[in-house]
Structure formats: structure tokens, C-alpha cells
Amino acid sequence: MSSSPEGQSVSLGRRSFLVGLLAAGSTAVGALLAIPLARFTLHPILSRTTEKSWSDVGNVDEFQNLDAPVKKLVMIEQRDGWRKTVIEKPVYVSKDSKGELIVLSAVCTHLGCAVPWVEKENKFVCPCHLGMFSLDGKLLGGPPPRDMDCLETKVEDGVLKTQYQFFRQLTRDKEELA
């Protein structure tokens, strides 16, 4: 280390330049390393974790002579990071105004309660806030903002299949949740 006053000021000037250089260099390298770390951390938030898949509802034959909606349990696979869980979700098989088979999610579009079919009243009545829907899921009255959610369906080898999904509550339009 220099001890003369001039030497000290020279070394100080050179030092502050190098401080800047080192600071800039380490910030750049640090930022570069931080990117993979941030992406790694955000992976479950930024990537879609649950893939849509088709679940069996039942044989088409058993729904041919429907006069009221039938409750069915469909098996869906839920991804939870590195594991998957197979759970059952209730759906209703019914017919629309044209007589085509439809599959309705039993989740109320109001606040997400499970909606049962009430035989006596010939309509769906949500037990939480008395939202009411017709046999094809059309909103009849109560607080729900929209009809019951229709799920996509297809028929394969005589088996009715559906793509179970979750939708956002309280919105006028059907909005899919990942």
C-alpha cells in the first residue's frame, strides 16, 4: 500500500474506477444467474399444471330415455406438481332444448356450491342461496350470474365422454380456470 499523499490519491482514483467495474460486472453476472433461479421458482405458477382430458360418463344407451337430469361421477386426474391425484367430480347428464345430450358441471356459477337436482320442483336448486336452473341448466332465478356450465362432450364407441373443467364464479361469461 502506498503511503505518500500523491500515491494515495492515484490509488484512490484507480480504485473508484475499479469499484465501478467490479460492481457492474458482478451485477451483470448476478442478474444472469438470477434468471434461471427465478424461472425455476416460478415454474408452478407460470405453467399450466392440469391438462384437460376426457373422462367416461357412461354408456350412451342408458341416457336415451332421460326425462330428468342424472347425476354421474366422473373421474378426473389432477396434477399437483410431481404427483397426480385421481378424484371424482359430480356432473349431470341432461338434454338441451333440441334433445341432444349435454353434461353440466354441478358447481354453482354463483359461489361454487354443489347444485342438486330437486325432483319435486323439477329444477336444479342450489342449497346455498337458492339459485335455480332448468333441467337443461338455464338460469331461472336467484343470485347466479349465468346458466350452469356446460362441459364439452363426445361419444366414442357408444360411451359418452366429457372434459371436466373448472370455471370462474360470479362472472356473466363462462371463464375457464387453468
Binding site: R14, P36, R39, F40, T41, V86
Partner: protein
Amino acid sequence: MPANFANDERSGFRQWLDRRSGLDSLLHHALDEPIPGGAKIAYVFGSGLLFLFLSQVITGVFLAMYYVPSADHAHTTVAYITKEVTGGSFLRSIHAYGSSAIIIVLLLHLTQTFLYGSYKGRRELVWLAGCVLLALMLGMAFTGYLLPWDQKAYFATTVGTNILSEVPWVGNALKKLLRGGTEMGTLTLSRFFVLHVFLIPAFIFAFVAMHVYSFRKAGAAGPVGEDPGRPKLPAEPFYPKQLVMDMGFAMLIIVALGFLAYAWPAELGPKADPSDTQFLPRPEWYYIPVFQYLKYWRGSAAVLGILVIPGILGLLLVGLPFFDRSLERRPWKRPISVGLFTIILVGLGGLGFASHREDMRNPGVAAQLKTQQEDTAQFMKTKFEPELSGGSLMSQNAALSNPEATKGKAVFEREGCNACHGDNGIGTSAAPKLVGVGGKYDKPKLQALLRSPTDKMTAGGMTAVELKEDEMKELVSYLDSLN
């Protein structure tokens, strides 16, 4: 330089902070360390090691965000990190290759310190703390190797822990203690995890502090001609030149690691299968010389080879500053110690080479190692398969609610399919798993493959399956249900 408040040019905040924290004098103390004879590239290895250790800590903490230390889930979670998580393969590779980098830089640091005689002149504590750190780092490498719970991790650690039972009297007790039982299992994994993540790192932090503190207390030793006790050469402060060199070396390390991790990501093999009797375990490269050395000691001589000789060598290494009291530092004036050091290094290299040559010369071994390499490559290619949680409605046997498939399972077992493909079609080293095969091929294709296997299947030992029509249907139905 001591803070001069008379003409203090520092900003108000710097002054405020310094008067409360002493930050400036701390920085001054850290950066103005005098180096007799000036900065040199040869001195970068110590700070390079510190940098690598911090990189291991950071990447390790992030990996722990997804890792689960249990024999049931460890492999799945590492596969998830490697195959699914964004940047997961990259981070895991940096961590895996970082351990190799630490061993390399440790050897360079040790060699430099030894050749420069920098352990002389009241530097016994620096040396001792360094020796402890060397052992701790080797412990980190050993414990970390098991955590992915793949075939090579499992079998290399089985062999590694078996060596302990050679220790007279207490060997078996030690082995049991480390494994958490007589056999390798989920408790072994928990113990290794705790050692790798909590215990050893805590000791490393403590000994790094001791190493650096006692190093600063003794001062830098300078070049080989310098008096280790009373330096005479003009000193240059650590900052800026040495710091720039140290940081340059750190950048070199991280660029090299980043490149390796990007170009050749660290692999993960198939999940550990304790029932496998074919697998040939090989440790990580830095343990290969020890692995080879241990092969030469059999029976009653084992105690000599496994305990006495390494004990003497370890004692020589640890006690070096106590045995070698002369202040002579120039390597060409210290033929005995430098010669011995060179012989040991060359010996280790030779053992590594001998191990490789033995493996390549034995056709059976070479073929098995190749198969293992191919299994790993194959596993890396397959898509990540999430683990079915215990709370699921469906489990392996629920698939057998189908009566045709239940009959098929009986056919599967009667025909001995499970001998190669494993019970429930989980696969063995002899044949691939059949779980999920129904997703790959439809039933007619499965039946066709069973009746006339492809050339590749035949080469792997698969024979054509001849069954009555209804039994074939049941078998296909069973295969289809495996998922």
C-alpha cells in the same frame, strides 16, 4: 486506511452507516490485506472455492424447493426437476458439476499451498482447518450422491457404506448408524439428506470462518522465496489487483459450469431397484482411485489397506506443519516432502487409470456398463410420469376391477412374463416396464406385438407368445390396464 474524519469526503449516508456499523473499516480490513510480493494468479484458488461453495449453497437451496427426501418420492421429484421444471435441469447440472469443480479446485488449492510451502511459519491452524474442510467437502460429495435415488446412487452408496464394516470392532455399528438400519432404505436417505443439507454445511461455514480468520491472522505467505514469518518483500494490497484476479477466476468457473450444464445436462438414471443383481456400481470420478485401491485388499489384509495405510497418509497430511518445521519453502529444496506428495498424486491418477482399463478389458463389465449407460439415456428420453398419490381412487389393483384383466394377470404370471418384466409389469433390468404400455399401443397392436415381436424386442430376449384366443385377449386386456 483508518477513517479520517477531518477531511471526510464520504456522503452523509456513508458516514451515518459507517459510524453505526463500522462497515468502512471492515471493508478496509478485507480489501487492504497486504500480499507480500504482490498479487498472483496462483493465489486465486481459495476464493474460487468459497465462490463455488456459495454457488452450491444457492443452487442447493433452490433444488430443495422441489426435492423430497424419501425413498418413495426422491427419484420422482428429481425426475420432475430434471424433466419438467423450467431451468431445473440447468440448476441441477450446475449443482452436480459444481461438486466436481470443488474437488478439482480443492486439489489445485492444496497443491499450490503445498508447493509454495505456505503452511509454514505459525500457520498450523490454517492448515488444520483446511484439512477438516477437505474431509467435509468429500463428505458432501458422498452424501449428495445418494439423494437422486437412482440406480447408480443407490448401489454406489451401498458399496460406500459397506466399506465401513471393515473397521475393526465398531465397523458394523457405524454402518448401521449411518444407514439407519442394516439395509439401505428410506432412513438412509433421510440421514444422508440431513448430513448433506444441515450438518455438514454448518460445519463447513464454521471451518471456513476459522480457516479465513487464522489465515488473515498469520498473513499471506507470498512467493516461495519469502520468509513465512517476517515478510520482507514490498506488499501490495489485496484490492484491486488480487480481487480482480479472484473475480476473473470466479467468472471463469461459472461460465465453464454454465456451459457444461447447458451443453451436457447432468443425467438421472432409472429409479433404484434394490432387487437388481446385475447393476455394476461405479462412484463419481474423484472416488474412482479409492474404489480401485480398495479392490487390492482382501481378507485379513483389508484392515491394513482400508484402515492403517489411509490412516498413516491422513496423519501425514494433517500433521504436515508439525513434522515439517523448517522455514525453507522452495520446492526444489524440499525433495522428500515434494517427492512424497507427487508420488501420492501420481498414484491416485494411476489407480483411476487402472480402474478404467480393468473395466474396458473385461467384456462382461464393459457390456454391462454400456447397458447401464443406455438405460440412463432411455430414462432421460421418456416423458416425466407423475406419481399417483396414495389418496387416489385408482391404484394399481383397482385397474383389476375388470374381470378379463384379472384373468390376464394370472396368464401374465403363469407364462412367466413377470420374470423379466417384473411383478405388475414394473420392469427389471432384464426387460422394460409394461406400465403405461396401453397408452402407447392399442389392443390389436399389443396382440400383434405379442404374437410376433419386433427384431429389437427379440434381440432383447423377448419370445413370441403363443396362447389360445381367449387367453390372449385376457393378457392384452391386463397389459392395457397397467397404468
